[in-house]
Amino acid sequence: MTSRFSKGGILINRKKKLSFKFNGKNLFGFSGDTLASALLANNQVLIGRSFKYHRPRGFVSSGVEEPNALLSIGSGGSLEPNRSATTLELFDGIEAMSQNHFGSLEWDIGSISNFLSKIFPAGFYYKTFIKPRFAWKHIFEPTIRSAAGLGKAPKEHDLSSYDFFYAHLDVVIVGGGISGLVTAKNLASLGLKILLVEQKHFFGGYALSEEFKINNLDSSEFIKNLEDDLSKNENVILKKNFSIVGVHDHSYLLGLENFEVLESEDHSSIRHRLWRIRTKHLILATGAIERPLVFAGNDIPGVILSSAANEFYKLYGISQGDRVILITNNDSAYSAVVELFNAGISIPLVIDVREKSVGELPLKVKDLGIRVEFGKAITKVLGKKRVKAVEICSIVGEGSVLETIICDSVLMSGGWTSTLNLWSHCGGKIKWDNQLNTLVPDETKQSTNELGQSFISVVGSARGQFWPSELFDNMEKVIKNICEIFNLKKIKYEKYQIKEIIHEKTSPISCVPESADENLKGKSFVDYQNDVKLTDLRIATQEGFESVEHLKRYTTLGMATDQGKLSNINGIKILSHLVGKEINEVGTTTFRPPYTPISLGSIAGEARKELFKPIRKTPMHKWHQENGAIWEPVGDWQRPYTYLRNNETKEEAVYREVKNTRNSLGMLDASTLGKIIVSGNDAGEFLDLIYTNMMSTLKPGRCRYGLMCNENGFLFDDGVVARLNEKTFLCHTTTGGSDRVYSWMEEWHQTEWWDKKVFIQNLTEEYAQITIAGPKARLLLEKLGGLNVESKKFQPLDFIEGKLGNFDVRVFRISFSGELSFEIATPSANGEALWIRCLELGSELGITSYGTEALHIMRAEKGFIMIGDETDGTVIPQDLNLDWAVSKKKKDFIGKRAHERIYMQDPNRKTLVGLSLKDSTQKIPDGAYALKSGGNGAEDVLGHITSTYFSPSLDKPIAMALLKNGKSLKGQEVDIPLGSGNKLRAIVVDPQFYDIEGKRQNV
């Protein structure tokens, strides 16, 4: 059984006991533990079930590479599925649950699929469930789906908060192991701003558990000193629980800082902070990860990486069992045996797959009296939910059993893989080094920054040199390089004394025994989480899935939550063996961000709920809010759709607003309309190019409706232009269009017509704008007082400036409702006050505020077009009978050339018409299509409805439509199919329904 020694464990504080729950059981650990070490201390070896076959699984590693120990943590709004226990620092009150089992963890009904594993090798689903067709949808897929996934998703809203931070640094060092710390120390005096990050909750990495002497100090003590030293340096920021997860273009890094322990103590603390970093240089001191060996039963709980076993022992005082054997292909794994043996654990056997080793560590193990067998391998591990024994065989041959050894834990080591994910996120290449038996950075193909220069250096074991004495081999070079980059005087590089350990080369063997039979291969796991076995890789290559990417996709190798940190290299080695090519020919897969999975919450940062997206509010927003407004988002603006009174429905409210405006008086908050000033000697000329119609001829004091097309000729915005004085125009745009039109004008001015003398300023926010519409509109203005608004003095499309009551205003006589209408603009600061003043004075005139929907209905009654309804990005002004607003005199304007193209001249283009229903109790639905009368199919389509409303003013339905050659259809009947299968019959009419002569607005 696994247990905690009564002493030892350099990270844990035995005085601070923490309680936690696993599958409902109350357990205890210590401060400084990870959840993994705390579980092991409680003899919890079986930790989860594998993805496909539901095989029992235990801890195989002690870090981010862990594929098995994934748990659901917390509950309700703080539930987190798939959390690896090895990376979670223990805090008080953790509730952890194992995942992916039907029934209990111990007795999982899902494990029945394990027995069928022979029928279900890699890619089996491509070959079956094909017939009958309905069965896939109704039987097979639902069955497969129901078995999918690991943990359960939370159901409630996430209660945690997340933080962003932008940091600009000179050097970022990734990895707080010994190489990272030493690099930082050497750079610390240069005055550079340095960030050093460590993903775990402690510094030192393997140098804490694999102790050696450095400058005559124990490595753990050396690290402690370094850490103390660096934390006092104000140029260096030291961070634990911090991973750099991505390297992006132009030396942009993403880092995730984890505060989960803090958050558990103080709920107002943030959970994660996503760092967005620009650095000039990046140093990878990311270390290495030990590889498993592939043999039958290598996934049975109790089989663990030797480095993990050592770390659990040294850092947390955990023993993996009472009788522990080791299987290795290298010398380094022997150190764990020495440690465990010295702690009193029985080591019945060390199996070394190599022919021999005369390295220092193997000799030391022998000297301790431990039996070491060279040239041997494991036939298979016996046991189901726990290692019981191993069968031993010769490395050559098929795996005939020579001996069975009782044990409760198997340590394994297949050599080391340097962690180079970050090296290749941004285009850097990686190659295999046969000598070092690991990946190494390909210095000839590096990630480059915006200057086309490489900006990443690699130090320590991430370079593929794993023995302590080799760790600092290129440190001096890196430091020098950095001095050059930053133009600094060369500094003296500090040399370190580390005794060299004589060692033998690592064997390239990763699968044992060499010629294992199919039965054994079927139990030899390469990818633990996704249950990819040796046989799967063989079948895949046999079927031609020989490129690394094909193999990966066909077998799901390396696609699990650990992203192949343990399995990829073994998979590639096996592939290279199977297809008889060198590893570099087979190729390695591309590493993609993130290095370790990061919470989606951290990616969203603070931008959630009310901070999700900016909301723009008009000066009158608060009044609307307090007076029953239902909001309609238009761009970032919130506009009142209608104002509900008492128990009105939305529809009733809208009709009331329309009728009230038509019969007496209405007011609309039009502040969101875009207002752009174009001023300068060439302003008129410039606007002649921007608008389709002529603006330069507009007289000061007058307004003109204008259209804007893009270079494709399509109408994209409209609005009224007022000429304020000889050289200044005020251009109104749609609400959604204000920023777009402003940028559009600036773009053309800056990039095409910069010789035109104009200045452009977006004044949308400067003015609140109130539309006063209805037969009594003039009365209200007279009540406000101060301006002469007599019809003779103040004609349609005039504007005047002055004081209305106490308010500085500009009043435009323009109408979008068809009523007598005034648009009053006043500085935003006074918007709310003027609005309220209008209401007060208007109350005896029966004024009502109306929203966007009433506005829409009234403009449709008048047949006015609306950008976004009558236009959809494919409509030219001519389609909307707006030829009158497209100048024929002007030599050029944006869109003019496009209008000359064949398709724009086609007589069959859809043009705007009105539709009148025979049956006035009906309403044409939004978005409906019109067909030739009696028609049914696609060939009968005439066009679509662009706007449709019930007109409260006319008490009948009205609609506008874009129909093929619409003008020729006037007076004809068309059919409008409904969702129900019925049709409405409509008559094509002129798109003006209300007050065709325009008497109402011109009074």
Partner: protein, 107 residues
């Protein structure tokens, strides 16, 4: 995440402060131009895998358009210059020549 020196502000600007604007140095074709020329102007973009002359807007800063020369394969930036320069500065062209002596992708 790209960053460019805005040639107007002469500072580094982050991609999130900018708006991309497509190919640079297009010759506008107005009324009277041939169908082919108009089509080329509107749609037929240079789309090189390599050096690309393009426009960006410092939308969250000075509000000015500028030109960028960037490699679409390596993201290397060869320089930035004013939107009113009708030709890239010699300095940038020299830098490109140095990088790509055979002149591929460069006009």
């Amino acid at each position: 995440m790209l960053k460019f020196i805005c040639p107007i502000c002469e500072i580094e600007t982050d991609e999130t402060e900018l708006t991309p604007g497509g190919e640079a140095h297009l010759k506008r074709m107005g009324p009277g131009s041939s169908d082919q020329n108009f089509y080329t102007y509107l749609f037929e973009r240079k789309n090189p895998r390599g050096i690309h002359f393009e426009r960006w807007l410092h939308s969250y800063g000075c509000g000015k358009w500028f030109h960028v020369v960037r490699c679409t394969k390596t993201m290397e930036v060869f320089g930035t210059y004013s939107a009113q320069d009708t030709k890239p500065p010699k300095k940038i062209l020299d830098a490109i020549k140095k990088k790509l002596p055979n002149g591929k992708n460069v006009k």
